[in-house]
Point group: D2
Chain length 144, copies 4
């Protein structure tokens, strides 16, 4: 089972639309921030350093499915709970649950491919390297 | 069959991330813009005027499923093709296809509920009114 | 002298542009967040509640002057130091200094008017009420 | 005198805040888009190509001064009128006026430095090259 991380958001006035609630693309923005933060919290290097490796690795988004359960507004503190739900060959699925205390605001399942840059500059999907997977595994499961 | 509208986007430098490609939440932003534009093009009033009706109607987003086929970058012109894919009782599904000429960049299916505001201020989903559905139907199909 | 507040920002990948540095309108977004946060930290109600008062008060931005000293990038933690620099009749000037540790990234001076809504719905600038000014004064200066 | 370009904006629902008006950092975003568009309209290459030159040229923003005259809202079409107000050694000042028909919404004066990348990777301001200045001059003034 993967680690689960928590990423905190303070909803701003400017994150909200004329209905007074969070403009929904901001939820995608926060899930993306939580996704980057996840790998950092797991001890992996930031995207910037990945890019300088000879066959740099990136994780482009292939697909995302988001369900909105209720709205949120400015002045509220939310948290994003993020984990890797599945490793499947050359892709992995990350889930994000945005909560206000015990209330689920929205949840997203994002499918990413893991890619290396080929000599001709084109991206090619590759199996998830073991060190990436290991870094994301929770200590409890690794323990024995 | 519903009308299909076209909404144009000129991708800006500031819409792109350190990888030099469109930061994906901007695609959600553009699909939302295309969704609002769709109803305007169909002759329905803007959200602002809806809000002033006694039992105002809104169309909160319940769910969205987006697939990313390839990336886009600044300096490119994209178009969003939008239509209503299905009317299903109290919800409707809008589809958005973002194209660069003949290349499909990404596509989204967004499920919206149609709601009225009750006397206590809470939203309640209602069947899609006939005038909304009629406004969105293409002339060709209505014709005979 | 006014209180000075601190508002924290964690710069995200998606806040940065193809040059790999913060896209500058995000600095405006963060200064706006810090401005709202300032009044909350001073004990004043959020904008939402202001709006429900009979002659609601708002503080539209009239002018902003921003200087950029150096760039910032994702993975960095910044803080915005905010204070009221001057109360001048119907306007007040807020200053924001965005720092990365001891390095000044950028600074802004924002001139706001204080307005009430008139019976005809139009805004009218009014002198800053004493309770607003008092709430923003630092304890040290008020003390004796 | 420099060329003046026109850049069109259709204000979206999601560009507006809970007050129902454009959230002001979007004006900065649009001025930046107009600034990039200006140089493209003047026949200069996009930033992407600049970056590949041996001593690539960039134009980091040093300072911006914006005045807000009145608000704008979704459903409105605005235009940004952009020109170079002054060339001054290693910097140039671009002005942007955002209009709704004959109404001035806001105006900004942005000071940019023109930089090359040195061998050690650091930026160094340089005098504006003659080909850049010439490209931005209006035909009428060049004519004789």
């Amino acid at each position: 089972m993967s680690k689960e991380t928590v990423y905190r958001i303070d909803v701003q006035f400017g994150d909200c639309d004329p209905a007074g609630i969070v403009f929904f693309p901001n939820f995608s923005r926060w899930m993306d921030a939580a996704s980057h933060d996840y790998f950092i919290q797991c001890g992996l290097p930031p995207w910037r350093e990945m890019q300088t490796l000879p066959h740099c690795i990136g994780a482009p988004l292939l697909e995302v499915h988001t369900r909105f359960h209720t709205s949120a507004t400015y002045g509220e503190s939310l948290v994003v709970h993020t984990r890797v739900e599945e490793w499947r060959g050359k892709v992995f699925i990350q889930s994000h649950r945005i909560m206000r205390n015990d209330t689920l605001i929205c949840e997203g399942r994002a499918t990413h491919a893991l890619c290396v840059k080929q000599d001709d500059g084109r991206l090619k999907a590759v199996p998830v390297p073991e060190f990436v997977r290991a870094a994301c595994e929770s200590v409890e499961n690794v323990a024995y």
